[in-house]
């Protein structure tokens, strides 16, 4: 079993040497402002695995909120900016399944609606290089054990965009199962949406809260201390009810759990 601190990245099968990559981070607008610890955790994990991380500061937002609410015209310059910002990047890694789903599921169609053949070509070249963080670790880097330690009882909520959008399947579980001292409890009715849905949460606040109430009930049933997901937007929603009800259950992005070590534990 690997020891904490050891470089755990995968090896190149031909040279036997560890593959190191230059990973370009896409943090996402809400992570940037509201959840900076998630980005820091991603940097920590990737650097621990021996990779180099860059943050292109021109990045802002993928445009998902605009697009999903019907402001397609307002999302178009944001697609443009995303493509410009990450031009030439080896890989782009984002700790948000919904931002990646926006890029993967909607950018190709959106670019085509913008009637710019060069943009379409650039989007088609860029999209396959954009990864969600957990997916990047397992699918691209071939790593499941990132040397993490997190002595807590944890349940995992599969965000809709990771489950039905990116179809991450068991990837997050494989990562969490390798975290030392972490007790992973299966979440009942886990495939149910938490009710966030971006502007749905305020446009249809009552229905959104009814969905959230059931999600919180199933989380409490697990008696977990921490609810983990690949998306801080769902977690912000879930946090909203867990905290309002003073349940004592916290939320954490999966990157923060994977960054946690005995020396620097998740706090």
């Amino acid at each position: 079993m690997p020891v904490c601190g050891q470089v755990l990245g995968s090896d190149d099968p031909t040279t036997g040497r560890p593959i190191t990559m230059l990973v370009s981070l896409f943090i996402g607008c809400y992570n940037d402002l509201l959840f900076p610890n998630t980005g820091k955790a991603v940097v920590k994990v990737l650097e621990r695995l021996g990779h180099t991380v860059e943050f292109r500061s021109a990045q802002t937002c993928c445009g998902q909120m605009h697009y999903n609410t019907g402001y397609i015209r307002e999302s178009q310059p944001l697609l443009h900016r995303f493509v410009r910002t990450f031009r030439g990047a080896e890989v782009v890694c984002a700790p948000s399944s919904s931002c990646v789903a926006m890029v993967r599921d909607h950018y190709p169609k959106l670019a085509r609606e913008m009637n710019d053949p060069r943009l379409v070509e650039e989007v088609d070249q860029l999209v396959p290089r954009v990864y969600e963080f957990a997916e990047f670790l397992v699918k691209k880097l071939g790593v499941e054990d990132v040397g993490a330690y997190c002595p807590h009882r944890v349940t995992y909520h599969p965000a809709c965009h990771s489950l039905r959008g990116l179809k991450l399947g068991d990837i997050p579980y494989r990562l969490l199962q390798r975290v030392r001292s972490l007790q992973l409890i299966d979440l009942p009715e886990k495939e149910e949406c938490c009710g966030f849905g971006g502007t749905f949460s305020v446009k249809n606040a009552d229905t959104s809260q009814a969905m959230l109430a059931d999600k919180v009930r199933t989380i409490l049933d697990t008696q977990a201390e921490l609810c983990v997901a690949t998306d801080n937007s769902c977690l912000m929603h879930i946090f909203g009810a867990l905290h309002r009800g003073r349940t004592g259950v916290r939320t954490a992005h999966i990157a923060e759990v994977l960054a946690s070590t005995e020396g620097e534990p998740f706090a």
Partner: protein, 482 residues
Amino acid sequence: MSVRIGKAAEAPPFQEAARHALEDSQLRHNMRHATHVIRNKRNNIVGELPDWEQLRAAASATKAHLMRYLDLYLEQFESNVIKAGGHVHWANDADEARQIIRQLVEQHGSKEVIKVKTMTSEEIELNPELAAHGIAAYETDLAELIIQLGEDFSSHFVVPALHINHLQIRQIFKRKMPLAQMGLPDLGEKPPELAEAARRYLREKFLRVKVGVSGANFAVAETGSLVVVESEGNGRMCLTLPDVLISVVGIEKVVPTFQDLEVFFNMLARSATGERMSPYVSVWTAVNASDGPKEFHVVLLDNGRTRVLADEEGRQALHCIRCAACLNACPVYGRTGGHAYGAVYPGPIGAILMPQLQAMEHSQSLPYASSLCGACYEACPVKINIPEVLIHLRSELVQGKQSNVSALSREKLGMKMMSRVFQSEWLLRRAHKLARLGQGPFQDDGVVSSMPGLRAWTRGRDLPAIPKQSFREWWREREKKK
């Protein structure tokens, strides 16, 4: 042209109707129980088929082909019905369809009709039209009968009485059926006893009434045949016992060949009720001298469908085979029930179909009645990308194609401003500072529990406060230290 469909004309916006529905504890319990039971049955029975995804692809391809050549297939269907001795009527809208059917009933001097469960007849509001002309319409589908006797509205298009339970059904029967005359003075609570009451109540009507009204699940162009899929056999009786049969069918229901039914039969019952096949599949081609009705009419209904067809993105809504798998899978529908949609077709498919079929105030709230979780798309046997169409319809609303702009203007301004901010790193940094400053008086210990402008969220949920340092600030500091 604005087509007003059903009670939607007076229905409140979804979010208002939903608020009341969510407080109905009996409804919440019934909805949760029923949708979970059907959903689990569906998942198990669909799981049996290793080629489910290929079936979905085939069904989707057939429907896409059909939409492209709909005019040709409809003409083929028409000529084959006429060849087999039937009559074909074309109805532009609900009003025309209602009048055609009512006049046909009147021509036969009948004061009564028996009905097979038909959504299109609800869409065109047939029963009130008939009643206004002294014609009684008897619903014979068990759930539709319950709805009719209970003076209620359907909330689901496969299981219309999904929102009520057997104890509530017993109360309705006790109120509305002549139970003593029917030889059932002490009606019990058990489902078989309730079914027996319905059987006695309906049997007499099946044998007496001379005109039947039905819809159809499929219309086969190559043969001119209609198909009705059902579970009870009551439909079969309505289709075979009366002298005259009138079927009202949406123009999108046509399929090219008999062979195409193979795919749809394989999927419909599995998706709708979690059964391998439907207990009753009735297929008929106009009239047959030796058996069944002596006279057959089919009313082909447009009622906004050609307008939907003209929208390349929205037209996939017409692929729907009315299995309601999306309703059973939807977390919104599963909590609010069908009435909150104020529409003949509720749930995710209704949310994309109704606003396209009718251009009116109420249905504009429907494209927003979804968290875009994608469960509907995953469940749909014909692969209608419901979330994609919802977004498309939202964009039409935003662009003012279907709405008055003023209602959206505050949101529009905010969205435009945010888009502008996201186009400049300098502006974004300023916006971050401003947001942090703005939350000042409202945050307590890292949490915002109440904030003007965010009340819709904070009324029931807390918000994490904006931390002192953004990620980009942290990164900048880190790079400087290097």
